[in-house]
């Protein structure tokens, strides 16, 4: 059969195709994906001739998970619709969460402000102007109690975008659950806890890499017994993609970071099968529809192979790449913001066709500010339209077997692996970050992308083509400057009312643990419970671990 197709294909090229092309050339001399993969005009069975169905694709819920991590995928349960949200005070954010839950959202996702993410209290001089801006401000357990007031933590799953201060926010969450009478064993959720990509792209690091990795593995060890259903890390390509890297680089850098975490945990004495099933991933979904779908499938297959072949994982769950997706913030334009609704819909659809476990859809006004309530609802509705009206959730991996999708899945896997090998040759992800290699690659891709836009090699509708005269959007969410003062006053009150002797004692115990080799998470939990502040706990660790400075 194969020979027949080849002969027919060549005949088609020489006759039917050639007749047209000789008169009317195609729009471009060649077509490439964002990862510089040259796209064929037409894929046929010839492009997937080497594919071994059982080995390379297999069945949903089975190794290598190319077609999905669950046996029934969305026929069983839809993906979790999880809008990343948080702003101003815990009081206001609590209202937004209740609003989202009322409108059919099925999980929470907490955005913290920058001081909370970098270990400064609201009254720290470096917090000036930042309190409550990109997320909610949390200084003490008191704020966390307000944030989840009236939200039953045994019923929702909560994802927290928190990295260098992840242990503090996680233990605050556990303390709130305890007050609600919820056992930590039943809690479900995720902490991002992916410090490596903070050095590479996102920038909320505090401590140097090795000390940070120790906190990460301490969290793995703590959670495996105490919070067994919690995802202890969300290894994230999202922010590197947003910083400008390509789809292939996103897969490569993310999985290279994943390898570094698994190695660190094994070095810390953990058995691979005791923690690997709690590793989660987080990817971006950008504009190029087919490449993005193929990217998710390639990442799943590649990670499964790495876990089985390199780390000798025995359990299937250890090899499963489960992931959250967010649509591409950097693809949103301030020009003609309604166009963003359409962009987000395409991106969300690709994420679903790629088999995501949870999804955040961006809002139309995010090139201006954090989204308003109305625009968040529209973003959530976009997911609901895909889930309930489009029908794509009713078949598993419906694009599997498409010649084009399978060929691209192969190509992305191959190119990502080449990159990972290059990083391994440098000594792994930590070394590649310390030497600035990954940052350099991201910066180069970002610059090329911008040049393509400016030279119109890449068309962005409404930005460099199809522009109109328009007024900028004015109806946006504004964070009141009073938020900072309000947080400061609340913090001062907590400090006055708490037992300061106990705070000192627990911080001293934390310092001792940090100086030695004991797990730092239990003493952080004790400090949190007596209302030690996020800044005090972070400062205690700063004294022992030092601070990282960007090179």
């Amino acid at each position: 059969m194969a020979k027949n197709i080849r002969e027919e294909f060549e005949r088609w090229e020489k006759t039917t195709l050639n007749k047209v092309i000789s008169k009317a050339p195609e729009r471009e001399p060649s077509f490439k994906t964002t990862s510089h993969i040259e796209l064929k005009r037409l894929c046929t069975p010839l492009d997937v001739a080497d594919l071994d169905y059982c080995e390379d694709l297999g069945f949903p819920g089975e190794f290598p998970f190319t077609r999905g991590v669950q046996p029934t995928m969305y026929r069983g349960r839809l993906w979790t619709m999880r809008q990343y949200a948080g702003f101003a005070t815990p009081e206001e954010t609590n209202k937004r969460y209740k609003y989202l839950l009322e409108h059919g959202q099925t999980g929470l996702s907490v955005a913290f402000d920058l001081p909370t993410q970098i270990g400064y209290d609201s009254d720290h001089p470096l917090s000036d102007g930042e309190v409550g801006k990109v997320g909610v401000a949390i200084d003490t357990l008191k704020d966390m109690e307000i944030l989840f007031d009236g939200i039953p933590l045994d019923k929702v799953s909560t994802s927290m975008t928190i990295n260098s201060t992840a242990a503090i926010l996680l233990t605050m969450y556990l303390a709130v659950a305890e007050k609600q009478g919820v056992k930590s064993e039943v809690l479900q959720g995720t902490i991002q806890n992916d410090i490596l990509k903070e050095y590479a792209a996102r920038g909320t690091y505090i401590y140097p890499p090795l000390e940070s990795m120790r906190i990460v593995t301490d969290i793995f060890a703590f959670c495996k017994d105490r919070v067994p259903r919690w995802n202890t890390i969300s290894i994230s390509g999202y922010h590197m993609r947003e910083a400008g890297c390509t789809a292939v680089q996103e897969v490569a850098f993310t999985l290279a970071d994943g390898i570094a975490y698994v190695e660190a945990a094994i070095r810390a004495g953990l058995d691979v099968d005791s923690f690997a099933s709690r590793l989660a991933f987080f990817f971006c979904c950008h504009n190029t529809f087919i490449e993005e779908i193929a990217k998710f499938r390639a990442a799943r297959r590649l990670w499964a192979k790495i876990m089985k072949e390199r780390f000798k994982a025995k359990k299937d769950e250890s090899c499963m790449l489960r992931f959250h997706t967010q649509t591409a913030g950097c693809s949103l334009t301030a020009q003609q913001p309604d166009n963003n609704v359409v962009r987000v819909a395409f991106q969300a659809l690709a994420a679903v066709l790629g088999g995501t476990q949870s999804l955040h859809t961006n809002s139309r006004d995010e090139a201006y500010a954090l989204p308003t309530e109305d625009s968040v609802r529209l973003a959530l509705r976009t997911q609901q339209l895909i889930a309930y009206e489009s029908g794509v959730a009713d078949m598993i991996d419906p694009l599997g077997g498409s010649y084009a999708v399978e060929a691209l899945t192969d190509e992305i896997e191959k190119k990502s692996m080449e990159y990972i090998e290059k990083i391994e040759a440098m000594g792994g992800a930590i070394k590649a970050i310390e030497s600035g290699f990954i940052q350099g690659e991201i910066g180069e891709s970002a610059y090329q992308y911008q040049k393509e836009i400016e030279t119109k090699k890449r068309i962005i509708v409404g930005l460099n083509q199809f522009q109109i005269e328009e007024e900028p959007l004015r109806d946006i969410l504004r964070i009141k400057p009073e938020v900072e003062q309000y947080q400061k006053e609340k913090l001062a009150k907590v400090k006055k009312e708490r037992d300061n002797t106990k705070v000192k004692e627990t911080l001293a115990l934390l310092k001792k643990a940090a100086q030695g080799t004991d797990n730092v998470v239990p003493p952080i939990l004790e400090a949190v419970k007596v209302y030690a502040t996020l800044g005090e706990i972070s400062d205690t660790l700063r004294e022992v671990f030092g601070e990282y400075k960007e090179r």
Binding site: G203, A367, Y447, I453
Partner: protein
């Protein structure tokens, strides 16, 4: 031969979104300017001091975290206090249009919003910096 225009691209505050700052730094360099990039998490004092020490003609401030109303005017104020008000300060990032008049009043000469091209910024600098 005329000397090159010297530019400091700076990231005030805790914001780590440095894609725009880095792209602009490189574009200005490719346009023949001498560019120093501060890296992230700089205080207004650090930025003003670096601008004076490096003897730059222009400072470009980038922020996407919403702290611009606090931080941008402080940079200008410190430059004035140190008698370096001749340095041209412009800004960019996620900055609501209604904040622009206040920032301009505080001495930030221009604000570039999402979608601005590096070409626009290069032209703006050439138009507004006279080398003696």
């Amino acid at each position: 031969m005329a000397r090159k225009i010297r530019v400091l691209i700076a990231k005030p505050g805790l914001d780590g979104h440095d894609r725009g700052a880095k792209v602009i730094a490189r574009a200005l360099r490719d346009a023949g300017m001498e560019v120093i990039y501060t890296g992230i998490r700089q205080t207004p004092e650090q930025i003003a001091n670096a601008a004076i020490q490096e003897d730059v003609d222009v400072v470009g401030l980038s922020s996407l975290s919403g702290a611009h109303n606090n931080l941008f005017p402080k940079v200008v104020q410190i430059l004035r206090d140190k008698k370096a008000e001749d340095i041209l300060v412009f800004g960019g990032g996620i900055i609501p249009v209604d904040d622009i008049p206040g920032l301009k009043k505080a001495g930030i000469r221009e604000i570039f919003q999402p979608g601005a091209s590096t070409e626009d910024i290069i032209k703006y600098i050439h138009r507004n910096v006279q080398l003696e």
